[in-house]
């Protein structure tokens, strides 16, 4: 393969038809309240971890919904589970359960891959 000094760049586009929705369907099945997220960002604004490091719970919803699971595994580890987000959420989403379910599903699919 020749090297021309540049390569074909991977598209930034989210290809909705390609993503692996296993994590998403697991989480939504076990915690249906998560469906009602409005992306208001209240959770992220109040987040104790977000005070200390860039950690965006609102984006976790989007990452799941767009199949961006590769970044989830490291992102989700930042959560301290303090629960402030749940007191702020206007839709009463059980966010801590979502975090725990994601952790569980990540493990589950890792072992499936093995």
């Amino acid at each position: 393969m020749k090297d021309f000094g540049y390569t074909v760049i991977k598209q930034r586009t989210i290809d909705y038809d390609q993503f692996d929705g296993r994590l998403l369907s697991d989480v939504l099945r076990m915690e249906p309240s998560f469906k009602t997220c409005l992306s208001c960002g209240g959770c992220t604004a109040t987040c104790s971890a977000n005070d200390l490091v860039s950690f965006n719970i609102r984006r976790i919803n989007l990452s799941l919904r767009r199949g961006e699971t590769y970044e989830l595994e490291s992102e989700i580890q930042k959560c301290m589970l303090c629960g402030k987000c749940m007191l702020v959420c206007p839709r009463g989403i059980n966010i801590r359960n979502v975090i725990m379910l994601i952790k569980k599903s990540i493990l589950k699919y890792k072992s499936v891959q093995l």
Binding site: M1, K2, G5, T7, V8, I9, Q11
Partner: protein, 354 residues
């Protein structure tokens, strides 16, 4: 796909194309990329259509590439364009026939600017006068060269030697049309058929017996993008755009790609070779590339011009598969022969497994 819908749009976007007496402005890059195309255009207009088309060797680049690469300021490009118009005015012409899509966009943009901001026009008249002593009139009609071919497509087909059909099966060839972004995306009214469903190449292809492929990434840019190509480390952006288009058109199994822009056929042609070298992937049939044509080359083939005379050996993706399908007779030995019959040497980076 409902054709009536497209036809309605085509009806809505009909532009005026001058009938005769053109002042021809060439593209600066095409003469390197596809050197035979502009010659073919002049030949068709003069020899086949008996039109009066004039060019002045003193005309220069419109500086559009510099302008879009943020090197040439707007005042400068306006003055350069004013000078082209002055050459046209001095030659006694009022109809501009533009070879380049970028220039076509520039001319339209500047003329529209002058309509909106007459002060700007006065300023530029002043600049040109001071710099060169020249004066100019704004062209009555600005047509892209492909508009003119489009206008006379039936006359051309009347003189055809070949049509865009498979000579063995008689079936229409499937052709992807690619319109340069600056043709109508900036001013939909300035392009035949508007920006979303341009008719300029569709009209030619359908009139000449071919079938047009409308694939999902049809509207997408070829990837030239000026800076994306000019800076080598940015070329990944450029090639990714072309690749996106190839992947989208591949399932339709096109026989050729036709374009009306200087840059697009260049990149759609060259990047097929590069992708093959980098990833081993080809998009045409039988492991070969998809031949890429300029509309002049397409017209020339229909009229029976010799492909090597039109410079089609300069394509990096070989055009032979298309020639064979159309049943065009050509001498492979003369592919790389000069005008005097001597071999001028092959293209160093031979294209797409041919």
């Amino acid at each position: 796909m409902q054709n009536e819908g497209k036809q309605k749009i085509w009806k809505d976007y009909q532009k005026e194309i001058a009938d005769d007496h053109y002042f021809y402005v060439r593209s600066c890059i095409r003469q390197n990329f596809f050197p035979g195309s502009e010659q073919t255009f002049l030949k068709i207009l003069r020899a086949e259509l008996n039109k009066d088309i004039f060019e002045n060797p003193h005309h220069t680049t419109c500086s559009g590439i510099g302008y879009h690469s943020d090197i040439v300021p707007f005042d400068t490009i306006q003055t350069i364009v004013a000078r082209q118009f002055a050459l046209m005015t001095e030659a006694g012409y009022r109809n501009l026939a533009v070879s380049c899509i970028t220039s076509f966009g520039i001319y339209n943009e500047i003329i529209e600017t002058w309509k909106e901001f007459p002060n700007e026009l006065e300023k530029i008249r002043n600049y040109l006068k001071k710099a060169t002593g020249r004066e100019f009139k704004i062209p009555q009609n600005v047509s892209h060269a492909s508009d003119i071919i489009y206008k006379f497509r039936e006359d051309i087909f009347a003189r055809k030697k070949y049509s865009l059909t498979n000579h063995e099966t008689g079936k229409p060839l499937k052709i992807v049309e690619h319109i340069g972004c600056h043709y109508a995306k900036m001013f939909p009214g300035k392009g035949v058929g508007g920006a979303e469903f341009p008719h300029v190449l569709v009209g030619m292809i359908e009139s000449w017996g071919g079938e047009v492929i409308d694939y999902p990434e049809r509207r997408h840019c070829c990837g030239f993008g000026f800076r994306q190509y000019l800076v080598m480390s940015n070329r990944g952006y450029s090639i990714s755009n072309s690749k996106k288009k190839f992947e989208s058109m591949e399932p339709y199994r096109p026989d050729a790609i036709a374009s009306n822009c200087p840059g697009c056929p260049m990149f759609l042609d060259r990047w097929q070779y590069v992708i093959e070298e980098m990833e081993g992937k080809t998009y045409g049939q039988n492991g070969r590339g998809i031949p890429v044509l300029t509309y002049e080359e397409m017209a020339g083939l229909v009229l029976g011009y010799d492909p090597w005379d039109m410079g089609m050996q300069m394509h990096q993706t070989d055009v032979e598969p298309l020639l064979d399908k159309m049943g065009i007779e050509y001498n492979p030995d003369l592919k790389y022969a000069g005008k005097d019959g001597k071999q001028i040497g092959q293209v160093k980076m031979a294209g797409c497994k041919c």
